[in-house]
C-alpha cells in the first residue's frame, strides 16, 4: 500500500489573505486559519501558512530551516527576479546577513538613541502643541505621519526636499510582498521615479555628516561592511523605517481613542507609554505577514514542508492566538505584551524597534501631558496594503486637561 501523502492531511482552504475584504478586516480570516490547524494549505497560492503563535514564532526563529534570501514575500527569488536589488538585511541569510545586521543594530541601538531622546521629546511636545490648537483633527496625517516624518529623516540625515516620496515608496514595498494584485499595479506607475529618489538619498554625498546614514558609511570606512553595501543598508532605513512606525503610532492612537479608561490609566501612570505601544503593536500588528522559504524538508507543527516551498507567517494572527494570550482581542495596559511577534523574532527581528518605541514614547508622553480625553470624531478609514494593517484617516476630538 502506498504511504499516505502528508499533504493530504493538511487542512486546505481557499481563503485569500490578500483580498480587499480581508485587508479591510483581517480578524475573521486570522481566526479561520488559526483554528483550521497549526499549519494550513492556501489553495489559491499553493503554499503553506501558519497563524498560531507557537508555530509562527518557531518559524521566525529557525533561520536555518526557513530562509529569507528567497524573498520574504510570496515571490520566490529562486525563480523570480526581484523588483529591486534584495535587501542586505530583510532578504538575506547568514553569513551575508551578519555584517550589515551588526552595523545597523549598533547604529539604531539604545545607546545610540540616547542622544536623540531629549530632542525627540521636545519635538513631540512642539508638534502636539501645534496640533492641539484645533480640538478635532486627523490623527493619521497630523500625528502618526507627521511625527515620524519630522524626526526620522532628520535622524538618518537626508535632505528636506522630496521627503513626501518616503510613504508611497514604503507603501509599494510592503504591497510587493503580497501577490501581484491591484494594489501592486496601482503603485507601479511611480515606482521608477520613487526608487530613483530613494537610491539617490543613500549616497554619501547627499547624506548629512552626522546621523544614521553617516554612521553606516563610517562603518564602511572602518571595514566593518563594504562601501558597496553601505547605500543598500541606508536604503533599509528609508524602506522599513517610516510606514511601519506611522501605522504603529496610528494603532496606538486608535486604541486610546476607543478605550477611554486605558487613556486615563496612561495619564495616571505615564511610564506605561512603552507598554502601551507594544500592546498596540500586538493588538493591531502593523506588519501583518511575512513569508519564509524552507531550506530543507522540514517539519512545523506536525506538518512537513518541502524544500523550496514558501510559508506565510501571519504575525497578526499569532498576536491574537488565544493559546498564548488571555482575551487576545482586548487592548489592555495591564497585560504584559512582551514576546509578541509584531516586530518579528530571531535574527531578523525589527532592527529599528528601539527607534519606533522612542518615537511612540515621545509622542504619547506629550499627548498625555495635555489631553484629558481623546475620542473618535467621525468614521475611520483603513488604508489597504498587502502587508501592513494601515489607516488612511482617524478623525479624533480631544478635550484638554
Amino acid at each position: 500500500m502506498a504511504p499516505v501523502s502528508a499533504a493530504q492531511d493538511i487542512p486546505h482552504t481557499d481563503v485569500d489573505p490578500f483580498c480587499p475584504e480581508t485587508l479591510e478586516d483581517p480578524l475573521p480570516m486570522q481566526a479561520e486559519l488559526r483554528e483550521a490547524g497549526p499549519v494550513v494549505r492556501l489553495g489559491r497560492y499553493g503554499i503553506h501558512a501558519t497563524a498560531r503563535y507557537e508555530e509562527v514564532r518557531a518559524a521566525l526563529c529557525d533561520w536555518q530551516s526557513f530562509q529569507s534570501a528567497a524573498g520574504v514575500g510570496l515571490s520566490n527569488f529562486r525563480y523570480e527576479q526581484p523588483w529591486r536589488p534584495p535587501s542586505l538585511l530583510l532578504e538575506a541569510d547568514p553569513p551575508h546577513h551578519d555584517a550589515p545586521r551588526t552595523v545597523l543594530a549598533r547604529t539604531l541601538g539604545p545607546r545610540a538613541l540616547r542622544e536623540l531622546r531629549e530632542d525627540w521629546f521636545a519635538d513631540a511636545a512642539q508638534l502636539v502643541d501645534q496640533v492641539l490648537t484645533g480640538h478635532e483633527f486627523d490623527a493619521v496625517t497630523q500625528l502618526a505621519e507627521a511625527f515620524p516624518l519630522r524626526v526620522f529623516p532628520d535622524a538618518v540625515g537626508i535632505p528636506r526636499q522630496g521627503r513626501e516620496n518616503l510613504l508611497p515608496y514604503g507603501d509599494f514595498l510592503f504591497n510587493s510582498f503580497g501577490p501581484a494584485n491591484e494594489l501592486v499595479e496601482q503603485g507601479r506607475p511611480r515606482l521608477a521615479e520613487l526608487s530613483a529618489w530613494v537610491d539617490d538619498q543613500c549616497r554619501r554625498t547627499v547624506l548629512e555628516d552626522t546621523g544614521f546614514g553617516a554612521a553606516i558609511w563610517a562603518a564602511a570606512d572602518r571595514g566593518d561592511i563594504t562601501h558597496e553595501q553601505a547605500p543598500l543598508i541606508v536604503r533599509s532605513l528609508l524602506s522599513a523605517g517610516v510606514d511601519t512606525t506611522v501605522h504603529g503610532l496610528a494603532a496606538v492612537l486608535y486604541a486610546f481613542a476607543t478605550h477611554p479608561e486605558q487613556w486615563q490609566r496612561l495619564r495616571q501612570e505615564p511610564e506605561l507609554a512603552r507598554v502601551a505601544f507594544d500592546e498596540a503593536v500586538r493588538w493591531q500588528s502593523p506588519v501583518q505577514t511575512f513569508f519564509r522559504t524552507a531550506t530543507t524538508d522540514v517539519e512545523l507543527g506536525g506538518t512537513s514542508i518541502a524544500e523550496g516551498e514558501k510559508i506565510l507567517m501571519l504575525l497578526g494572527a499569532a498576536n491574537r492566538d488565544p493559546r498564548r494570550w488571555d482575551e487576545p482581542d482586548v487592548f489592555d495596559l495591564s497585560r504584559d505584551p512582551s514576546g509578541h511577534v509584531g516586530f518579528g523574532m530571531g535574527i531578523h527581528q525589527c532592527v529599528g524597534q528601539h527607534v519606533a518605541r522612542l518615537e511612540s514614547e515621545a509622542l504619547l508622553t506629550a499627548l498625555a501631558h495635555r489631553v484629558e480625553h481623546i475620542e473618535l470624531a467621525g468614521s475611520t478609514r483603513r488604508h489597504h496594503n498587502n502587508t501592513l494593517r494601515a489607516w488612511r484617516s482617524l478623525p479624533v476630538r480631544v478635550h484638554l486637561g
Binding site: C61, Q64, P94, T102, D221, D224, S338
Partner: protein, 322 residues
C-alpha cells in the same frame, strides 16, 4: 498582570548541559554543550564567545567553534593552562559529561567583516574562533589562507578538520618549523585582504607590531583579558526598587525579569535571551552579573545598566531605578 506561561518563555535557559567532553589534542578538550531540554540556543556569529561559570563559581570566556547551522549545540575548545587561576584545570580534571554550567552571551568582539580575501593566523588554542570564520569564508567563496602555529603537532587541535581544506591551510608546529614566518605572511597590507589573528599574547604583540603602519580595519585580533570578576553567585539575592519602594528576593530558578513581573512591576521585554535590548533597566547600586549579548566589556564594567531577562547579581543586593 497577565501571567506569562508560553513554552517559548520557559525555553530561556541560563544553563548548558555538557553533552560530551573529548580530548582532541595534548592538553586540549572540546566540550559539546546543549540546552538542558534540548531547545534552540541563542544565535551567534563567527568570533563569538560565551562566558561559562563553572560549578566552583569561576567564570571564563571561550570562543564558540562549532557549526551555527546546528542551533542546538555549542562547541568550545579548552586548553589546560597550569599557570591560570584554575578555570581550565577544573574543566580538564573535574567537569564531566552530564553536568551543567551557567553561561552568559554569546557576545562577539571579533566579528568577521566581509572581504574578498582573508589571512587567518592562529597560535595554539587561538584556532577556536577562526574555525567558524574559515567555514564562513568557504561558504561565501572568499579566497583565504590559514597559518596555524603551535608548540608541536600533537598539541594542535582540529588538524583533522582542517585537513579537508587542503592547501589553504599551512600547519607550522614550532618544534618542526621554528617560529611563524610573519614577515612572509604579512609582507604588505592589501585593501582586498583582512587579517584575523588569535593566539597567545606574544603572537598578538608580534602581529600588532608588524602591522602597526597598516590602514585601520585590515588587521583584526582578539585578546582575552583576564578580568578579576566577582565570583558568580548561585544563591538568591535581593533587588531593591528605589522608585516604587519595593524589595524582592530573586531565587536561583527565576530570572530578575520574572521576579519583577511577578511583583507587578512592568518591564517590557521581547527576546528574553539578552539579545534584543528591550528590557534594559538602570542599576543604581550593586554589581550586576551580566549574561547578555549586548554590552561590551567597558559597558559591563560601568555596571550602570543591565538586562534582567538574563543578567543577575554579583552582589547580595542590587538597586534598580524602577
Amino acid at each position: 498582570m497577565t501571567m506569562d506561561t508560553s513554552p517559548a518563555d520557559r525555553a530561556t535557559a541560563d544553563e548548558l548541559r555538557v553533552a560530551d567532553k573529548t580530548e582532541v589534542a595534548d592538553g586540549v578538550v572540546t566540550l559539546t554543550l546543549r540546552h538542558p531540554r534540548g531547545e534552540r540556543l541563542p544565535d551567534w556569529t563567527p568570533g563569538s564567545h560565551v562566558d561559562l561559570t563553572l560549578p566552583c563559581g569561576l567564570t571564563r570566556q571561550y570562543s564558540l567553534c562549532g557549526n551555527r547551522w546546528d542551533a542546538r549545540t555549542y562547541r568550545v575548545g579548552v586548553l589546560r593552562e597550569p599557570d591560570s587561576r584554575g578555570g581550565s584545570t577544573r574543566i580538564h580534571d573535574e567537569l564531566s559529561a552530564g553536568e551543567t554550567v551557567a553561561f552568559g552571551g554569546p557576545r562577539n568582539n571579533f566579528t568577521l567583516a566581509p572581504s574578498p580575501r582573508y589571512v587567518f593566523i592562529a597560535g595554539g588554542i587561538g584556532i577556536t574562533p577562526l574555525l567558524p570564520m574559515i567555514h564562513q569564508a568557504e561558504l561565501v567563496g572568499a579566497d583565504w589562507q590559514l597559518l596555524y602555529g603551535g608548540r608541536s603537532r600533537a598539541s594542535m587541535a582540529f588538524l583533522d578538520e582542517l585537513r579537508t581544506y587542503g592547501r589553504r591551510v599551512t600547519v607550522a608546529p614550532e618544534d618542526e618549523r621554528g617560529p611563524l614566518d610573519l614577515p612572509a605572511w604579512l609582507s604588505a597590507p592589501r585593501a582586498d585582504t583582512k587579517v584575523y589573528c588569535c593566539g597567545p599574547a606574544p603572537l598578538l604583540d608580534a602581529v600588532d607590531q608588524h602591522c602597526a603602519d597598516w590602514p585601520t580595519g585590515l588587521l583584526r585580533t582578539e585578546r582575552f583579558v583576564a578580568r578579576d570578576r566577582t565570583p558568580a553567585r548561585s544563591g538568591a539575592f535581593d533587588v531593591e526598587l528605589r522608585r516604587s519602594g519595593l524589595s524582592l528576593t530573586v531565587t536561583p530558578e527565576r530570572s530578575v525579569l520574572r521576579a519583577l513581573n511577578d511583583a507587578g512591576v512592568h518591564v517590557l521585554s521581547s527576546c528574553r535571551q539578552g539579545l534584543c535590548g528591550t528590557c534594559e533597566v538602570t542599576v543604581l547600586a550593586g554589581e550586576p552579573d551580566h549574561r547578555d549579548s549586548i554590552l561590551d566589556d567597558d559597558e559591563r564594567a560601568r555596571g550602570n545598566c543591565m538586562f534582567p531577562c538574563v543578567s543577575r547579581s554579583g552582589t547580595d543586593s542590587l538597586a534598580l531605578d524602577l
